[in-house]
Amino acid sequence: MSRPDGGTVAAVRATSTGCYLYAVIGGDGTGVAGLPGIEPGGPVDVVTAGGIGAVISAVDTDAMRQGGASADIDEDGWLVRAARSHEQVVLAAFHSAPTVPMRFGIVHADRAAVERLLATYGAELRGELARLGGAAEWNVKAYIDRSVVAARFGADNDADGERPAVESGRGYLLRERARRDADARVREAIAAHAADLASQLSAVAVDLTAIPLGGEESRRPVLGAVCLVERADDARLTGVVERFAASASDDGLTVELTGPWPPYHFTSLRLGPSDE
């Protein structure tokens, strides 16, 4: 097997190459086989057994170990690129078949070891694929638009708010109390919208997790949820989120929706010797 980096390894030592596992799918992998895998390593392949497939690629295990320990942790470093590759492969698999995503970083000894995995845990994996049924994950976040919020709740606590050059102590305290009261109204409104979002989403979602965020500054989300939705309900989901966005915009919230993604947040499967 040739090495992509053209390294001068006279013979490929068995211990230097491993079999990276991206996901398990309910299909034969058409549409994902042949895509580039994590580097240094080979292209994506699929090994099937008992009606399910394991999405794999050959990887340089020394590079995997070094990448995990490396001080070179930046957005152009090996590890971030490897994580992006992992995500891209899992997404491609998801576009072609029901997919159970693996967590990043799992390398088996070789293809045979992955085949053993499929044989040993076939029942659990088939069960998980059936449970998820190809459903997708969607992520909803809402951000505050400060200028709208300030007008709506009277929370004009910005530096450019009216502040007299000479202010009495009482004036200061009254202004502070007004600001706190306005902040409290904002928080209550956000909490009400978070509850409303959860309620609206649960009408269409199979499963739902609210994300506690609580950031009250402009660029941070103030509320969020991730939900699992059957593919047939994609349009209903976007409709629900659009209606929520309309009701939340009056209170200065802007809503962001991403998806459909593989159901990362909704797989809780742990496979391995039960020694925990």
Partner: protein, 114 residues
């Protein structure tokens, strides 16, 4: 983002995904396998790795409200300095209190705020 006049504002559908979202998904979620594995990258330096990746995409992470490292004394120089300063002040306060005549060591509060 589409704006249609007279209608409800559209939901924003970003085309790209933030690095923080991608990392949170693949590093923290998904099926975990133990046992017949030769390498698990995340086991090599699990906590340190996640921390360093978050720091690498710190701006994005901060936008998500993830910024706990800024007050973590192990990770943040500012926080570590404050911690040291607090420790120094506390030690000095204790020494001064011991020098006071008996019965005059103030209100007895220990260590004040944090």
């Amino acid at each position: 983002m589409q704006q249609r006049s007279g209608q409800a504002p559209a939901v924003i559908r970003p085309s790209g995904e933030s690095l923080a979202d991608i990392l949170e998904r693949v590093l923290d979620k998904g099926v975990v396998i133990a046992g017949d594995i030769v390498v698990n990258v995340l086991d090599i330096e699990l906590l340190t790795l996640k921390v360093r990746l978050l720091i690498a995409s710190a701006d994005t992470a901060k936008e998500m409200g993830i910024d706990w490292w800024e007050t973590d004394p192990f990770l943040s120089r500012n926080a570590a300095d404050l911690q040291r300063e607090n420790d120094d002040l506390r030690a000095r306060l204790e020494r001064l209190e011991r020098m006071l005549p008996a019965g005059q060591d103030g209100n007895g509060s220990d260590g004040g705020g944090r």
